[in-house]
Structures are given as C-alpha cells and as structure tokens.
Amino acid sequence: MNHGPLIFLGILVTFVMSWWGLIFAPQMQIGVQQNASLVDGIYPRPRAGLAEQGHHVYVANGCVQCHSQQVRQESYTFDVVLTAPGTNNEIVIRALGKIAPGINAGAVAAAATDQKPQTILTNVPQGVADDAQARLKKAGATAKTLFIPLGVDIARGWGSRLTVAADYLYDQPVQVGHSRLGPDLANYGQRAPSTKLILEHLYDPRLTMDKSLMPAHRYLFETKPVGKKSSPDALALTGKFAPPAGHEVVPKPEALQLVAYLQSLRASTSLFEAPASPAPQP
C-alpha cells in the first residue's frame, strides 16, 4: 500500500466492476429497450407537443423534490368474471354452484354480458381461477380470469399496477423522484380532475384542499387588468384568493403546458412484465 500506482490499480479494478455491473450491463438490458408492441398499438406513445413542453416545465420547477412517479406493487391475486352465460342455463347454474356456492347463480347467469361481466370469484389463487374457467367453458359459458395487482399504492388509487421501465421510455430526464411529500403522480392522468381544477390547484393548493402543504405557484399565472370582457382562461377566484378589483388571473403558457403534461401521465396499460386487467365495467 505504499506505492501510488498499485493503489490506483486496485481502485481502478474495483470501480470498473461496479461501473460494469450497474451501468454497462443494465444499458445492454433496459437501455436498449424499445416500445412494447401491443394489440392496440405501441406502448408508450410519445407525448403530444403541449405535454412534452409541460414535462420541461415540471423539471424546471423542481416538482420532483416532492412528488414521486413510481407505483409500487406488493403482490397480486385473481378474480373470475362471467361474460356470457351460454345457452344451457341449467348446466351453467350447476357449474356455478360447484365453483362459487355463495353466489346467486341464477341472477349472475342471467345478468352476465360482455359489457356487464358478473364477478364469480374474488381473491383466489391462479389454480382455482383456471379450474373455474375450464369448468364454465365446458358448460358452454364464457368466463374471464382477471389479474389483480395488489399494493398500498394501488389501494390508494395512485396506479393500477407497478411502474416498469417501459413507462419511462420517452422521459428525459426521468423524474422518478426520491420523496413523497406529495402524492405519487405516475398515473395522475387517470384520476386528474378538469383542467380548471388543476390550474386552481397550481395557483394556490389551499383553494381546492384546505390543508395542503404544497407551495403556491402563483408565479405561473399573471394578474392583469380585465379588458372589455374577461378572458376565457381566467380563473374563477373568490374570497381571500380573489385578485384585486378590476383584475383577473390568467394562466401563463407554462401553466397550461404543465397541466397538459400532468393529464398525460399514465401507467396503467397491461404489459408482459407488469400485467393488469382492466377493471370490469360497473
């Protein structure tokens, strides 16, 4: 350990190992990953122009310091739903009785359609679900097995499945985040309220949520005097949030871009590495 070059050699070798393992090898795996080709097109789709600009606004304002974009999943389970009762009602009802003794087989068989699938079994292991599906097929009915991801984030409504590499293919920089001082936004587009409400939230979160800790982003808006008519974009603010008399609050282009970006955030499509079934229609 008394020769600089030898120490350097040792450090070089050990460091190159971690570089190889965590940079080079992953680049060969996920770095070259392409869009997934699914039944209804490629996934993910590139963002529309306004949303892409909004991504830059998101980065520039450091939203990532409070918001994460990573949905976690702890486990999964299976449900079985009936989509078509077939023609032989008696046999189907008998089969249903064997599979799920607790349900009202007659009513379920009568009501089941493709648009209104009826749940037969919930929270069962895969073997049981496959068995049930096979029995119903034999009886002439059509049943589907739904794959249900489970997790705390999913229970909170933050997403319908875990987020994977494919969800971030068009992000540069990827804003996965390191802190949950605010809710997770990976799938925000699916639960986002109207544009107006999002703008009000950005202007001052206390408008829509009294106890919110999110900083007000009033600098994304412009308070200007009202012209002959008020602008169509102007926010409807009342009480202590209202601008001074004769003025209106109008969102700047950055605000609109940011809203478009937030509305475009989605990570719920079922993929090979992250399966998820669409929920049965109510």
Binding site: S68, A165, D171
Partner: protein, 479 residues
C-alpha cells in the same frame, strides 16, 4: 512524548517542520473560506426550504424561491460548494503533513479554487432560473458543471503531485482514502454528466445511472474525504496510534469493492436484480463501517486526549457515520421508507452530521495553523450549535419519517392526513436548520477573524519594522 512517534519513517535531513508546511499551505485558506461562505449560503437556502415545507404560503410569489429550487440549490451548494471544496483543501493539507512535504502548486490551487467557485455560482444560478438538469445532486446546468470539472482537474492534479512529493515510507490510511477519492470523483461525475446530460441514455436507464452516481458521491467520494479526516485527526488529538493497520486495510478495500454497488431501494421501477444487488450491497457495506468505527473507537479509548474541544467534532462525526450505515440498510429494505422524511433525514445526517462535523473540526484545527494566529472565539459555540442543530434536524426527520411511513403503508389514512401529521416534525427540523445556520456563521466568523489577524500581522510587519505589532500574538511557529 506519549508514544506518538511515527514508525519506520526515514526522514531526510531536509524534512520541513510542521510549521514550515503550514505556512507553505497558507493558500489553502482561499478554498476554505470560500467553502465556508458556500456553507452559510447553503444553510440559509435550506432554512428557506424548510420553512416552505410547513408554511407553503411564505414567499410564494417568487419563482426563484420555490421549494423545488431552494432544496436542490441548498443540497448542491453544500456538496459542491462546501464539502467537496473544503474536503479537497483539508485533504491537500493532510497529504502535505503526512508526506512531510511543503505544499506543491500553490498558484494552480488558487486558480482552481476561484474557478470552482465560479462553477458553483453558475450552477446555482442555473438551478434558480429553471435550467436544472432534473437529476438529484447533479442539477447544475452544462456551463457550471464544465467549469467545475475543469477546476477539479487542476485541484486533483495538484493533490496527486503533493502525494508524489511525499517522503519515502509507509503510507497512512488517510492517504489511501484521499488517493481513492481523487480518482473516484471525476469518474463518477464525468460518467453521470455524459450519460445523463450530454448523450442521455433512454428511459429508466437514467435512473440507474443517477442512482449509481448518487451512491458513489456519498459512499465513495464524501465518505472517503470524511474518513480521511477522521483517521487523521482522531489518533492525533487522542494522542494514540491508530489501533490496527489491518482493520484499516479491510475497511478500505471492502469499501472500494462494494461501495459502488449500493444505492437502489425496494420499489424503484428497475428490474429485480438491480434492486436486490443494491440492497445486498448496503448490508455488506456494514463491514467497512464497523471496521472503521471499531478502529477509531479503540484508538480513542487507548489515548489520553489533548485538552481540545475538537475531539467532540470527530467523535460525533464518527457516531453519525455509524448511524448512517445502519439507516442505509433500513432504507433499502423497509418499503417506502426511503421516500419519506426518513430518507431525507439520513441524507442530511450524513452530510452535516458526518462530513460536516468532520470538516468543521478539521477547519477549526487548520485555520489557526495556516494563519499562524490564535483565536478561540466561537469554537465552542459553533460546535454546540452545529451538533445540536443536526441532532434536532435528524431526530425530527427520522422519527417523523418513520411515522410517515407507517401511515403511508396504512391505506386507510388519506394522504393529506399523512402529511399534516408530520408538520410538527418539519417545524422542529426548521429549528434545527436555524441552529445550523448560526453554527455555520460562527465558524465562518472565526476563520475570517483569523484571516484578518493574519493579514494585519503580515501588513504591519512588512509595512514598518519599527512599529511593534500591537494586540496580536506573534505569528509564531506551531509546535
């Protein structure tokens, strides 16, 4: 002499005395003072950010001062402006003292330091104006980083030259860590900038590079600087020999081998193998942590410390280092913990509690020797303010984070309630940051006073030989 003579060192007759080395290294005051200025700026920004966390309506009209800007600015100002710069300066001084050579390359170091400050300035302005890169600990835009890297090149080469200029003999563990750190930082920084900003890799691969870089920055670069300081000062002030060379060797090489692999935690959208590797590595990294802590703790036990309040700095720094190693394992395995205040708390405990306190102690030791003046003002107060500040801050965030994690895991608690219940802890942490600001200002004040006394002594002795230097202790040789 308390048995603290060096072993097997054959000094040439011309080996300079410590006093001689110190006066040759006077230029190191430039990076030290500028790093302390950045320290104060960083803590003020951290205070603003901390206030905004629990009182979001304060200063809401300024786009510069939004939390999304002040938090990364405070972080980067601390890591690049203070920790890296002061770390390099202290490392240079340690290399000179251990190598028994006078400082090589005073002018390049000064130029490098000036441009380093320029780079950090550009970087911070870039963050405030929204030109951030979007990656943690790497937010400086291209202009700032390029200048930073270029000035690091100058400073790094000077450090290597200083290592080469050493007297023949056995190397001391601090020198291994400094040498390693000098190579690790430019590789980490350049790779990260190349693959994230210049020629960005696609998709979540950026997360892999960013995670690898952040881990390297903390576990390799900053840890090495901190450990170099602790391994040098603890035996010195305790007046004992470092307990075991073999323990130091094991610690160093296990850190080198496994240090680069940690950094990924459960739940990230990365393939399972990367997460498992990161989590497993963070467990194995307990070994270098334990080896170093055992080594230094036993050293302290064996020695009779000099009457110096400075040992406190290094002792608490060591404790913080140990805690961070353990908490890193929690972060990697307990779900969602990394994403709560706990994760931020561990980061700040590492930065202020380990690296910060170690460098504060080193600067308080160095400054009188470099300036040749003596001034005990504020050492005690700044030490107490810094220690209590980080204690309060870390405790608030760590405990608040654990409670936040429990409520996050419990799906029945609405998110708004999760955050509102941690408000009290955030308020406590603001108090902690306030104490840190005070401590930092006191440290800066003390060093500035020393520099002022040094300048006055220099001016008065060269301006007129006849006038006696009044009220100043002579710029005497440190014994």
């Amino acid at each position: 002499m308390n048995g603290s003579t060096s072993s097997s060192v054959s000094t040439t007759p011309a080996a300079p005395t410590p006093a001689c080395i110190d006066s040759s290294a006077r230029i190191l005051l430039l990076p030290i003072v500028s790093s302390l200025v950045w320290l104060v700026i960083s803590s003020v920004l951290a205070l603003i950010a901390s206030v905004k966390l629990h009182s979001p309506t304060v200063l809401a009209d300024s786009s510069w001062l939004t939390y999304g800007h002040t938090r990364p600015a405070a972080n980067d100002a601390f890591v690049y402006g203070f920790a890296s710069q002061a770390g390099l300066a202290v490392a240079l001084w340690i290399l000179c003292r251990l190598g028994r050579n006078t400082l090589v390359g005073g002018l390049p170091i000064a130029i490098g330091s000036i441009f380093w400050n320029l780079g950090v300035t550009f970087g911070l302005v870039g963050i405030f104006t929204g030109h951030t890169t979007g990656f943690d600990w790497l937010e400086f835009p291209k202009a700032g980083s390029f200048i930073l890297l270029a000035s690091y090149g100058v400073l790094g080469i000077c450090a290597l030259l200083n290592f080469r200029a050493r007297q023949p003999g056995e190397t001391y563990p601090s020198q291994w860590y400094i040498l390693a750190a000098l190579f690790w930082f430019p590789w980490l920084f350049t790779t990260a900038r190349m693959l994230l900003v210049q020629f960005p890799v696609r998709g979540v691969m950026q997360l892999a590079v960013s995670g690898w870089f952040t881990n390297g920055l903390f576990t390799l670069w900053l840890t090495s600087l901190g450990l170099a300081v602790l391994l040098y000062f603890i035996p010195k002030i305790s007046q004992a020999q470092l307990f075991s060379r073999s323990l130091a060797l094991i610690a160093f090489w296990s850190l080198a081998v496994f240090g680069g692999w940690a950094g990924f935690y459960r739940g990230l959208p990365l393939p399972a193998w990367m997460i498992s590797t990161g989590a497993a590595a963070s467990v194995v990294l307990l070994v270098p942590m334990l080896a170093t802590v055992a080594n230094l703790w036993l050293t302290m036990g064996q020695g009779t410390p000099a009457k110096s309040g400075l040992l406190g700095y290094f002792k608490y720094s060591l404790i913080a280092f140990a805690l961070c190693g353990v908490f890193a394992v929690f972060n990697a395995f307990i779900p969602q913990l990394r994403l709560t205040l706990f994760g931020e708390g561990v980061e700040q405990l590492f930065l202020y509690g380990f690296v910060g306190l170690a460098l504060f102690g080193a600067i308080h030791y160095l400054a009188p020797r470099l300036t040749g003046q003596e001034n005990d003002k504020f050492v005690c107060w700044s030490g107490m303010a810094s220690t209590f500040g980080i204690l309060l801050f870390a405790a608030a965030f760590l405990i608040g984070g654990i409670l936040q994690q429990k409520r996050l895991i419990d799906g029945s608690v609405p998110f708004l309630d999760v955050m509102n219940k941690t408000k009290m802890f955030i308020r406590l942490s603001t108090l902690g940051v306030l104490l840190l600001v005070i401590g930092n200002i006191l440290t800066l004040a003390r060093v500035l006073l020393l520099v002022r006394a040094c300048c006055q002594a220099c001016c008065s002795s060269c301006c007129s030989e006849s006038k006696p230097s009044v009220k100043l202790k002579p710029a005497g040789a440190a014994r």
